[in-house]
Amino acid sequence: DTAVSQTPKYLVTQMGNDKSIKCEQNLGHDTMYWYKQDSKKFLKIMFSYNNKELIINETVPNRFSPKSPDKAHLNLHINSLELGDSAVYFCASSQGLAAATQYFGPGTRLTVL
């Protein structure tokens, strides 16, 4: 059983489009995260939800809107995609706010043409 899963795995789209990425975890965790990993492998936190409440909201363009329908799911919607949005987006989860042990999904590779 996959602990943290993401769909889709690959996403290729045109500039200006709107797209969504979905994440699900079956670990029973109550905290979920979105990270962006750029071409130089820098992994940076974007958002975090704890029990469906937004608790981390880094300096991210408001074209990015996360949504957590329940503790096991965290989605990321991106409006008006730009070339600079091309990256790998990782979802992660942890139990509670102690983020030392986070479990990552396989990533969604987004390419904006």
Binding site: K40, K41, I45, I55
Partner: protein, 116 residues
């Protein structure tokens, strides 16, 4: 200056060698220190974490933290080709002393290749 600095490599060593991976940091409030391993086209997986200073050993892996020098290391003994991956250090402040969630700050990652 980035909060966490890590040499991206690449680093290539023969099988069986001892590998040393390092990170330096500037934020003296960091208390949790983690090492993640990331295989190509996969998500990072937690290898080890340490709270505050000291050493921690797990099989062939040893993590060291020197807070006075703001320097952490990961040693891999008897390295195997299956250890070939990118190793990311990550750090965070102690979440018990502030409101909100604990944020991990990652280094750039060091790409390691173990040659058979």
């Amino acid at each position: 200056q980035k909060e966490v600095e890590q040499d991206p490599g690449p680093l290539s060593v023969p099988e069986g060698a001892i590998v040393s991976l390092n990170c330096t940091y500037s934020n003296s409030a960091f208390q949790y220190f983690m090492w993640y391993r990331q295989y190509s086209r996969k998500g990072p997986e937690l290898l080890m974490y340490t709270y505050s200073s000291g050493n921690k050993e797990d099989g062939r892996f040893t993590a060291q933290v020197d807070k006075s020098s703001k320097y952490i290391s990961l040693f891999i003994r008897d390295s195997q080709p299956s250890d070939s991956a990118t190793y990311l250090c990550a750090m965070s402040e102690d979440f018990r002393y502030f409101q909100g969630a604990q944020k991990l700050v990652f280094g750039q990652g060091t790409r390691l290749t173990i040659n058979p």
